[in-house]
Amino acid sequence: MTDTWPYLDVHQSRTHEPTPYEYKLAATLEEVYTREGHELADVVRGLNARQVHASDGSPWTEESFRAEMNRLGA
């Protein structure tokens, strides 16, 4: 923590620098939200259609997507 004026820190909410996987998932998620809508089923289908999978390489299910979001957005 710095004591020097001014405090201007872009990132105040992060716990760590996002990994390449997290950046890719986030960017794809934004595209899916824009093109496919906001329903959970559409989001999961949209991610899988773009071959952007979970970190273990498996396609998303609603359950696994929900769990991953809860982990990353805790």
Binding site: M1, A26, H38, G73
Partner: protein, 338 residues
């Protein structure tokens, strides 16, 4: 003497209103067992936190000969001045004068200590003058206490007078211009009619002909602390959950500087909440920051006499109203001790 009630109205207007709460710095600026020197309302203060988390705020001035206590030592439950070792408790009482045990300073409450509260990750303090030491009732902004609302605090320090930072928030029309190149405020008419709508706690300043498109309304809320509430739509890329809101507060640091507190909040649940939080941290926080930087660049570039040589029009009613309010209060407070 801190926050004297004989301060002039001009001084109060320039350095912040007394007898109310103001935000000071984010909570995490003062670690458990830590101290931090801060400036607020034009005065020097010491924030002091015990290891169990209990926080206190003292005038940064040793009762002996005025050395800054912030240069002293954290002794766990009190601070020792570095100059001659006088020890001061979190409530401002001198507990010991090591150079002269039994000295009459011992046991006297000689250091101003301000009531503090922590709200949603920010330290708020009550800045009463000599006539009003008892804290005013404080109702924290409900978006920050509602369990169905999720919020991230963004804090920044600007070389801009505190009032310009508040006026900027009571001026929604700047959104369609200053923030035209932004992720959220690219849309909306560049002409509008505004009205003021009084509420029990302040007033709305809002467009009469557009809502939910740009930065279309703002409510000034005076609930022991001054804050604004506003709402801005997100683009579809932000996912489900609707618009985001901002609770804004400003710390008057001194005549030329302010600390700004913006909680970006959203009413979201379950996976939608988690998704927003994930996107916020990964991508959206940076974009919010870029918008805020547009405000900072503009406000820091405003000439010092900007508010002396203006030609206002209808869109500035919210600002005019704000100034009238603050000016009147500064006048009242300056004569409170007379």
């Amino acid at each position: 003497m801190t926050l004297s009630s004989s301060a002039t109205a001009d001084h109060i207007y320039a350095t912040g209103l007394r007898n109310q709460w103001h935000p000071v710095v984010p909570s995490h600026f003062v670690a458990p067992g830590g101290m931090r020197k801060v400036t607020a309302l034009g005065e020097q203060w010491l924030l002091f936190r015990r290891s169990d988390g209990a926080l206190s705020m003292l005038a940064d001035r040793c009762p002996h000969r005025g050395a800054p206590l912030s240069l002293g030592k954290h002794l766990g439950d009190r601070v020792a001045c570095w100059y001659h070792g006088v020890e001061v408790e979190p409530d401002g009482t001198v507990s010991s004068v090591p150079g002269l045990p039994g000295c009459s300073l011992e046991g006297k409450k000689l250091v101003t200590s301000l009531p503090v509260r922590e709200v949603a990750g920010a330290i708020l303090a009550y800045f009463g003058d000599e006539e009003h030491p008892e804290p005013a009732e404080l109702t924290p902004p409900e978006p920050l206490t509602d369990p169905d609302v999720d919020a991230f605090l963004c804090y920044a320090e600007w070389n801009s007078p505190w009032r310009y930072a508040v006026e900027n928030l009571l001026d929604p029309m700047h959104g369609a211009f200053l923030h035209h190149d932004s992720h959220t405020m690219f849309d909306g008419d560049t002409t509008a009619k505004f009205r003021i709508r009084e509420t029990a706690r302040g007033y709305f300043f809002e467009k009469t002909d557009q809502r939910g498109v740009n930065f279309d309304w703002v409510e000034l809320c005076r609930t022991g602390v001054d804050w604004v509430d506003l709402s801005i739509p997100y683009p579809p890329s932000a996912g489900p959950g609707g618009p985001f809101g901002i609770v804004g507060m400003v710390c008057p640091v001194d005549e030329r500087r302010s600390g700004v507190f913006f909680w970006r909040y959203r009413r979201v649940e379950d996976w939608q909440r988690a998704s927003w939080r994930f996107l916020y941290r990964t991508l959206i926080e940076q974009r919010h920051w870029d918008v805020l930087e547009q405000d900072r660049v503009m406000l820091e570039a405003m000439p010092a006499d900007a508010d002396q040589r203006e030609n206002l029009y209808q869109h500035d009613l919210g600002v005019v109203r704000l100034r009238r309010l603050y000016r009147a209060e500064a006048e009242t407070q300056s004569t409170a001790g007379a």
